[in-house]
Symmetry: D3
Subunit: 137 residues, 6 copies
């Protein structure tokens, strides 16, 4: 069993804001992240699959194909978008925190992967000092 | 003459959109960067001053003071903000491209610096692959 | 279960030196790291907690609060300090290697964390080419 | 149990090419990586061992010794070499993909490690966006 | 005058070898870099142009267009290629050192740039510890 | 004229402390950097020379030789040392700030360089957010 990781990047806007709360509550909990006019990040996503290297190609899976698949299933929907408003697979009213994003991305990626690999881990870097990690359970 | 650089970061939303143009023209020129609901970046700003190391402190200027000054003059106004809407020193209708931002930041910084140093260079990284640089003229 | 990591940095001096050994033995085992007048590093600490994203905030825990907590429990005691002499929670005579530091940091962090998360992993980078990792057992 | 990682780098040429296939098949599967005159990479290898910090030295094992051992067992055989032609421990006809390399490197490293540690993990970065990881099974 | 930089990467094989010299001379001067079967690198190229931000777009030039132009003029000719054998604009018998490459790349880029900008600087990183820089004269 | 840069690293202890001042003055000016028991950094030094690529080797100068020369002239004297106490070429009582260090390093390097190159620039990174730069005048 060998693990192969592909790294892809996207740039997006978001804010953290709970509709059921007052402005005061939102600012109290989320601080600057609740700025009404949004802010944004350069996100970096590490997608790790596991499998056995093919006897001919030496690939767990083709890293180029993995990259295309991650772009189609995730990056194309979030790059240069607003994570609160523009992304069909992020339900309205759910905060687009890195912790929630890795779960939504996982659900998008699993059905797209070829049968010879299993999705093992997602790591999403939101800034140089904050990242979330998910193993599917 | 020695050059001292302080690096500070901020996260902001923006879009590129010329009001005088049609939606089609904007999408044609700016592509994804014209997304109506904004996108955003983790920006990294390198502020370089030049001067002579003080004979007692060995400082061109105190790097901690330089950092505080950059935060007060620039970062506090742009961090977790919308660069098109929220920043007093970015005129409405001017595109918040990295090329324009370094000019606006320069104007904010020059009057704040202590007399013993001169502002030499600003470098603003918008992504890992794009950055703008300005020397004040 | 989602994992959230916060990265914090500190700069410290240390040396590796076993009191019970002769100078010759110390130099033989520790080489340059036994320099009597100390040397130092820029350390980078990755603190990973695990938990379930809150249904309202989307946070496993607030990354800003995690950062403050790491600063108070660890960074404030080691930043710009001598790891052999200045840190109450590093016992005298115990080598401040990265391997030992992650164990001491773990013990400082566990009692400070809020009940909704569990400390999962510490990674301490001493240089670009050496790092230690600890999972609490 | 503490994990200690040493990072070492090497620069090598390789190509991906299955002898049993036609040129068309090779180009179809491997694309640019099948270029007849080779291409190359700056590889970065993370070698992680686990063990208990020694009560005197505080070392799981001496990181300098670990580095020397990784150089002798792996780096000296692959640095500034052709991974398809020049490396005794990579069998002819086996693709030098990162997924296969971590397995071959693992086999080279295990017999060289001192008894107080166990090899835990290898990570091999081929580019900034592709890496393979192996845990020995 | 504002400077805009676009960063592009490529992976290539090369060796350093002077045909007029004996094998012994080549090994003496170039060491491991003269390995007959080649070695390779992940190269990173920083292309900096200078100009005045456009009053409408805020662009010195469109960074996406700059990237496409760099790919077409340089990257497509060197990525996954052998720098000694495969690149029309690198004369046979000229060593593909980073110092020579930046000069050849400069000559490829200048005629491709739009009239509103001037090529200012090329930086080519061959490894993490070696890079060459060229200003066209 | 092409510029060639070699990057070397060292780890050192230091403190900032003016003997002529009281403890209160020192703490007031230098804060944590005045800690009596020292602190330290992982320093990164970029040494840039300029010259013309040799018609045979394609080298401005051999980057490996440049590295050896930087190690012998600078790194060997500061690595795993105390910059206030252990370095013959840093005068007692002069603060080992990055701004002063680049000047001392410059003086060490100039007489060691071969005649075909000129020392152009030194950049010394003290942390990820502070660096000093010197051009010899």
């Amino acid at each position: 069993m060998v693990y192969l990781t592909r790294v892809e990047k996207f740039n997006a806007a978001h804010k953290l804001w709970v509709e059921e709360w007052t402005e005061e509550q939102n600012l109290d909990v989320f601080g600057k992240c609740a700025n009404a006019n949004w802010h944004g990040h350069n996100y970096t996503l590490h997608v790790t699959v596991k499998g056995t290297p093919d006897r001919y190609t030496g690939f767990v899976m083709d890293a180029k194909v993995l990259g295309q698949l991650v772009k189609r299933a995730v990056i194309d929907h979030v790059d240069h978008r607003n994570l609160n408003l523009d992304v069909p697979f992020i339900p309205a009213g759910i905060q687009p925190t890195s912790e929630n994003l890795v779960i939504f991305f996982w659900e998008q990626l699993v059905p797209q992967l070829p049968p010879e690999v299993t999705l093992h881990r997602l790591i999403l870097h939101e800034t140089d000092t904050i990242y979330a990690e998910y193993y599917g359970e």
